[in-house]
Symmetry: C2
Subunit: 317 residues, 2 copies
């Protein structure tokens, strides 16, 4: 059942001995939301902890270390920034059917919790947590750093169109609490691992252009991953590379999986529909970002994708 | 002579038949400041135009096209976002000694104009122009797009620590006027020319690490520039590449000039002083960004820089 903001505040004020679940492959928004709320509740004298199926990446240590880590048997289970129970991952399966409250900004939320507060106009769940903390308690600099992190990471550092006037006003309020936003952004956006740099270099080396450079394709092979020692989270956002190039309206990323299977990510600019492109290969997605899977040898799969791209671009003339 | 904000408003209200000078190698802030102010004055019924020593890059067309381009003999000369008369470039030399007013956010402003308003706490000159327009006229969406562009580009899209609470509040107000901030940021930050991508790839191919990967060095050779056909403005920010790598505290970029001369840019993280590093080679700069010039063959210059980096890093242990 969906609840309104006033009811949400009532529910949060009742929380005690609570475990806050965050989604697997945790990102800045789920981590910032979970830990800021946890710290707020702890400061109000409640017992609270955060649980995640995956280890939280080291770069978020300044957020993780802002809460007291004490073990206790939770009496209440809530989830933040999680649209689907499956996104909590394997380790949190034990909480199935037990999640009482979910706070989220994904319009696609499946309402798996007993009660759900969803605001799809919020750029990040951290915007909602910010509003909660402002209503029920006093924000401090450590909650502010956690919330700023989630807002910055979910908006590409205020770059995407989801960064609204409200997003900037919240950022202004958080910065006024004395957080070091420059340093947070340096950690989140200006630091690449050596293996990420290596894999980007290799990807650019094998980049193929077609349709008068309006389509660019890169491939991340298993061998490249072995050579660079890049982990899954180090590949985040690599699909943005081909579309970034001036003039490119279809950017394709192939990622080699087991048994001659390729995971394909397609990113487009106007007027190309990425979802329709991927539907031709049994996939789908949104208008500017789609995906599918194709079985075959590298050369054949690449040729298939490039000739489809040429066809689509030609039909737009 | 420096003037205060009240006097500045009086002066701007008196402007008519005015030419607004912007600095050479124009960036988003000088372009946004110049054209937003020009449009505001035109809307108030004044004759105004913008002049620049260099052609304004095509990606700023949406700003340039927001003003009427009519020729007239100016009776009054002002400059924006320009700390030194020399930065206006060769074509504007004719205005030497004639600049009546300069509006700027650089603390280093040399006060070359008869009257100067400087606010070094502003992240961008566009913040100051925003305040002026809010006081004397009515902001419209096209002025807002120009000002947002300057603020976003001078703060690395709100990433750097110069983006203050005030910066975010102004961004919120501009977004509320209906500008497409996502599209502006895509043009400014997510579009790379093919030659830029090529030169980045080549730079990464020849990257050298030393001192347990705490120092990374790249070189942009004349041959690489020829092969990639990269122009000067396409090399902007390339010096950030080596320092971006996790763990690197000294990032060095060598750029080959004529006659075996290399222009060296050094970017550092704590605790390395880039200015002190460059001073050893007759250069200088700031604590995190410095530069110098070294004559010699590539191998010798690289060896010299790497061994100095090893020494400096060893002394910090």
């Amino acid at each position: 059942m969906k609840i309104d903001f006033a009811t949400l505040l009532d529910r949060v004020l009742e929380l005690d001995d609570v475990v806050i679940l965050i989604h697997h492959f945790p990102d800045g928004d789920t981590i910032g939301s979970g830990f800021a709320l946890c710290r707020c509740l702890q400061k109000m004298g409640r017992r609270a902890k955060v649980e995640c199926s995956h280890t939280i990446p080291k770069r978020y240590d300044y957020i993780v270390n802002s809460v007291e880590q004490k073990e206790f048997e939770p009496k209440c289970v809530i989830a933040v920034d999680t649209a689907d129970f499956l996104l909590l991952g394997d380790k949190l399966k034990k909480y199935e059917g037990k999640v009482e409250l979910c706070i989220d900004h994904h319009g696609s939320n499946l309402l798996f919790a007993k009660e759900t507060y969803v605001d799809p106009t919020a750029a990040a769940t951290c915007e909602i947590i910010n509003d909660i903390i402002c209503h029920i308690s006093r924000m401090d600099d450590q909650m502010a750093a956690a919330l700023y992190t989630g807002i910055a990471t979910d908006t590409g550092c205020f770059k995407f169109s989801n960064a609204t006037a409200r997003t900037h006003i919240i950022a202004a309020e958080l910065i006024q609490l004395g957080i070091d936003s420059g340093e947070i952004n340096r950690i989140m956006f200006d630091t690449k691992s050596k293996s990420r740099v290596m894999i980007e270099k290799m990807a650019m080396e094998n980049m193929i252009f077609t349709a008068e450079d309006k389509c660019a394709l890169i491939c991340i092979t298993k061998k490249m991953r072995e050579m660079s020692d890049a982990k899954d989270d180090e590949l985040e956002g690599i699909t943005a590379l081909p579309r970034q190039i001036e003039g490119v309206i279809i950017g394709i990323t192939m990622r080699e999986r087991e048994n001659d299977t390729y995971k394909i990510s397609v990113r487009t600019h106007e007027p190309i529909d990425a979802s329709a492109f991927c539907a031709k290969f049994g996939g789908g997605g949104h208008i500017r970002a789609g995906g599918c899977e194709i079985k075959g040898k590298y050369d054949d799969v690449a040729k298939l994708l490039l000739s489809e791209a040429e066809k689509v671009i030609a039909s737009e003339r």
